[in-house]
Every structure is written in structure tokens, then in C-alpha cells.
């Protein structure tokens, strides 16, 4: 979209009934690295691509535990995402304290959405520049919601946000009907394969992605590198033959150090050691 005279203020409507500042905020979400969420009847998986500023730095954390039964993956301005995660943690823990019962996901996302809406209707504020995939479990089952900067929220069986998320969405659209009855393992596998779609050519390694799971009897937690690598090994061919070479390896952002020919994923060879997990 192009600059126009109605896009300076979030409180200015365009003649066609659009709030450009809000739409620009949603653009910020599209620039962030990909985050993916899927759910089955009993589990929710959140996964994201680990993007680092440079080879020297560690990657940014994009998935946060809100409570034992709720997790959130963000894309966009991670600083805004951190603030909103803190808000969610606060709401969740306050509810647990007063009612000794976990906050239901639906109510949390509505509060989040209302908070985002406020920023679209105050001239001294700006919309949050982050999209949130909120996954959680409550007495009405497993849920996955997407909260966007506009203050809208939607429930999904599976969704992807961030850069190159369209590739992941295409993959998910082909397979989503099986997710409801999927096993935990299949759900994780599908998440990692969806991540692979967003990498478009880069070899999939466990250091490039972060995966988290929550479900019945299983509080929110991250999967360790080994488990992720095991899943990758089940479908990724032997690294030497670059099957999905297609687009070419050159990546504009921080590419893994080694030359194109695949390296053994997993043991030892992590070029950028992630700070957490």
C-alpha cells in the first residue's frame, strides 16, 4: 500500500472506511519471522522459526508460556509481544488466585483483543505491532486463537503468521481436516513440516526452530533440540542430497555459516547457540 493523506493518525478514517495505521501495524506482523499453531482435540502445538539478528547474536524468543495450560507464539515487534505476554500471565495468575481454577482461553483472548482495540481508538497511542497465536486448553477443549493488532481475534484449527507464512498455510490447508483427531506425535510432525515450508530451501535443522506442546495431562513445555531433530530425521532425507534445493540457498537474512552442502544436524554443530532451550 502507498502513503496517503489519511494514514498519519490512528484516529483518522480514510474515505473508504479504513484505518491505515491499523493496517500498517498488521504489516509489521507480516515482516516478523514465521510462527505456526495447530490443534487437535487434546493438544496444541506452537512452533516458530528462530531468527537471529546476526551470526553473532542469539535468536529472539517468540514463544512464551502464559500458564500451564496456555502458551503464546508471536510474530512482529517482539517487544510489544513481550509486554502482551506479561499481561496475559498476569491475567491468568490473578484468575487462578481468586478462583483456584485455570482461566479459560476464550476469556483471555477477549481481554487481549479489547486491550488491542483501545490502541486503535486513542490518538496518543499506537496499535501493538504484533500478532499472537494463543493456544490453550480449558474445560471446553483445546483452542487456538489468532489475535491481531486490529483488536480482532479468530479461532483456528491451524494457522501461520509472519514472513513466508503463506507457504505454511498452504501446507496446513491441505492437511487440517486430519488435525482434530491427530495424535500428539503427528501434530508435532505437521508443525515442523509446516515450519519447513516457510524456510523454502534452507535445510531444516532443529536449531532453526522452536517447538512447544501442551495438552491434557501435559502442561505447556518446550521440546528439546534432540526430540525435534528426531522428528526431522523421520522425514528429512539424508542431508547430502539437497532435495528441496529448488529456490537456491542464498538467504537475505542471517544464513547458517556453513557452505551449501548439508551438515549433519543435531550433535555439536550449532552455529548459533540459542540462549533458552
Amino acid at each position: 500500500m502507498f502513503r496517503n493523506q489519511y494514514d498519519t493518525d490512528v484516529t483518522t478514517w480514510s474515505p473508504t472506511g479504513r484505518l491505515f495505521q491499523v493496517e500498517y501495524a498488521m504489516e509489521a506482523v507480516k515482516q516478523g519471522s514465521a510462527a505456526i499453531g495447530l490443534r487437535s482435540r487434546s493438544h496444541v502445538v506452537l512452533a516458530c522459526v528462530n531468527k537471529a539478528q546476526s551470526e553473532l547474536s542469539s535468536h529472539q524468543r517468540k514463544i512464551f508460556k502464559v500458564d500451564d495450560h496456555i502458551g503464546v507464539a508471536i510474530a512482529g515487534l517482539t517487544a510489544d509481544g513481550r509486554v502482551l505476554s506479561r499481561y496475559m500471565r498476569s491475567e491468568s495468575i490473578n484468575h487462578s488466585f481468586t478462583y483456584e481454577s485455570p482461566l479459560s482461553v476464550g476469556r483471555l483472548v477477549v481481554r487481549l483483543a479489547d486491550k488491542a482495540q483501545v490502541c486503535t481508538q486513542r490518538s496518543w497511542k499506537r496499535p501493538y505491532g504484533v500478532g499472537l497465536l494463543v493456544g490453550g486448553l480449558d474445560e471446553s477443549g483445546a483452542h487456538l486463537y489468532y489475535n491481531c493488532p486490529s483488536g480482532n481475534y479468530f479461532e483456528y484449527q491451524a494457522f501461520a503468521i509472519g514472513s513466508r507464512s503463506q507457504a505454511a498455510k498452504t501446507y496446513l490447508e491441505r492437511r487440517y481436516e486430519s488435525f482434530q483427531e491427530s495424535s500428539r506425535e503427528d501434530l508435532i510432525k505437521d508443525a515442523i513440516m509446516a515450519i519447513r515450508e516457510t524456510l523454502q530451501g534452507e535445510t531444516l535443522k532443529s536449531s532453526l526452530c522452536t517447538v512447544s506442546v501442551l495438552g491434557l495431562e501435559e502442561p505447556f513445555h518446550f521440546l528439546d533440540q534432540e526430540s525435534i531433530q528426531k522428528v526431522i530425521d523421520t522425514f528429512e532425507k539424508v542431508p547430502e542430497e539437497e532435495e528441496d534445493a529448488g529456490e537456491g540457498e542464498a538467504e537475505p537474512e542471517a544464513a547458517p555459516v556453513a557452505a551449501g552442502t548439508g551438515e549433519q544436524g543435531g550433535s555439536g554443530d550449532q552455529d548459533v547457540a540459542p540462549m533458552e532451550m
Binding site: Y99, E100, S101, G106, R107, D138, E139, S140
Partner: protein, 249 residues
């Protein structure tokens, strides 16, 4: 000195000017409430009396009320504070219903909410002068708990307030079982209420029994217990007592 008391969801703020608005003593009070878990849910009994000091002034006070779909609240102590609590719970259940999202407050949530309210009021030296009994069934799980005016709270298979703790609980400790049928439960509660009727001066012979199961709450119509006053010990209470000249030989 001003106190600002924030009530639950922040829509109300009250200013208490020093002592004039703090609860110092109760005025119209209800006596014991007794409740037990039984096979299908919860049974709770209380009489319908409201005492004004030593006068049994009000004889049609309902001291047990249904809360939402899943809970039942019984109270002893200051009646006006009980009505205030009902108002808070009304707001709570109203907001809960407005979400209209398939989730609803169960007895555990209500119990904990009340515990927070009672404890916070106690901390401000302005207690709600009640002992509350909260029972309910949700998703097949039975729940029975109690909160006192100082915020002490716990769950148990059978609870009682006031005099009930001293007169009814011992009976329940001996005779309560996990799988009481409805009739057995009612008989057990009536036994407790009868003892309370004989021995608690603020009890009246007009009681209600409430039943709480997965299907919902029903509060019975008021009725009275049969009493027998011709026990020898009642007709001649001092026989054999310490220091008396009367002996039963």
C-alpha cells in the same frame, strides 16, 4: 481516617469513614447450617430463624440460596451481610453468564472467590460477619466447603457452622458414610437438626433441606421436626446433678 475498599471487579469503590461503617457486631443473626456429601451430591439443612439478640424475631428467613447452575450457599451470622454476599455473587454469576461461552463457574471457583472476599474484608477490619457453607456438583464431582468470617476456608465431607460444629459434627463423624442415599442423608441431617433444636436457644422448629445434584438445586418447603419433651431428664433436669439433693434411686 478514610478507607477505600475495592470490591471485586473494580466497578465499585466504597469509602468508609473511620468506625461509622465498619462491622462491629452482628444484629440479626442466623444460627447453624449443617451440610453433608451424599451419594448423588450435597444435602444442606438450616432453620429459618433470624434472631435479634436473644429475641427470635424473624421466622421466615431463607438462609440457603442457589448460586448459578452448580452451587448452593448457606450462611449463618449476620443476615444483612449474607444478603450483601448474595449481591456480589449475583454480579459474579451475571458476568459469567454474559460471556456465553460454554464455561461456567463451579462450586470450587465460587468457594475460592468467597474466601478471597472474606479474607480481604477481615484484613481491613471490616468483616462480613458470616460463616458460609458452599456446596455443589459439577461434572460429577461433589464439592463441599466452608469459609469463616476471618477467611479460614477448607473442604470436607461434612461441615457445620456455629453450634452445629459442637453438636452436629460429632454425630456426623460417627455416622457419615460415603454412599448415603438421599433418604439416609435426610434422616442424618434431621437427627443433627433435632439435637440443635433441643439445645441451641436460637434455633426454631422450622427448617429447610436443600439438595444439590448434577441436575440442579432444590430447596424444600419449610417443615418442622417432631419433638419429644417428656424425657425424664427434661422433666427433672437436676436429678443426679453435681451439688443437687435430688437423686434418682
Amino acid at each position: 481516617m478514610t478507607f477505600t475498599i475495592q470490591i471485586e471487579n473494580g466497578t465499585e469503590v466504597r469509602n468508609a469513614e473511620a468506625d461509622s461503617q465498619r462491622t462491629l457486631y452482628p444484629y440479626v443473626t442466623g444460627t447453624s447450617v449443617v451440610a453433608i456429601k451424599y451419594k448423588d451430591g450435597i444435602l444442606m439443612a438450616s432453620d429459618m430463624g433470624g434472631s435479634y439478640g436473644s429475641t427470635l424475631r424473624y421466622k421466615n428467613v431463607e438462609r440457603m440460596k442457589a448460586i448459578g447452575k452448580h452451587s448452593l450457599l448457606g450462611a449463618s451470622g449476620e443476615i444483612s451481610d449474607f444478603q450483601e454476599i448474595l449481591r456480589y455473587l449475583d454480579e459474579l454469576t451475571l458476568n459469567d453468564n454474559m460471556w456465553d461461552d460454554g464455561n461456567s463457574l463451579g462450586p470450587k471457583e465460587v468457594h475460592n472467590y468467597l474466601t478471597r472476599v472474606m479474607y480481604n474484608r477481615r484484613n481491613k477490619f471490616n468483616p462480613l460477619w458470616n460463616t458460609l457453607v458452599l456446596g455443589g456438583v459439577k461434572n460429577g464431582e461433589k464439592y463441599l466447603g466452608m469459609v469463616s468470617m476471618i477467611g479460614v476456608s477448607f473442604e470436607d465431607n461434612h461441615v457445620a457452622t456455629g453450634f452445629g460444629n459442637h453438636l452436629a459434627r460429632p454425630i456426623l463423624r460417627d455416622e457419615w458414610r460415603e454412599d448415603l442415599s438421599f433418604e439416609e442423608g435426610v434422616k442424618l441431617l434431621e437427627k443433627c437438626m433435632r439435637v440443635l433444636l433441643y439445645r441451641d436457644r436460637s434455633a426454631i422448629n422450622k427448617l429447610q433441606i436443600a439438595k444439590m445434584t448434577e441436575e440442579g438445586v432444590t430447596v424444600s418447603e419449610p417443615y418442622s421436626l417432631k419433638t419429644f419433651w417428656e424425657f425424664k431428664a427434661f422433666t427433672n433436669p437436676t436429678v443426679g446433678a453435681e451439688g443437687s439433693w435430688l437423686y434418682d434411686n
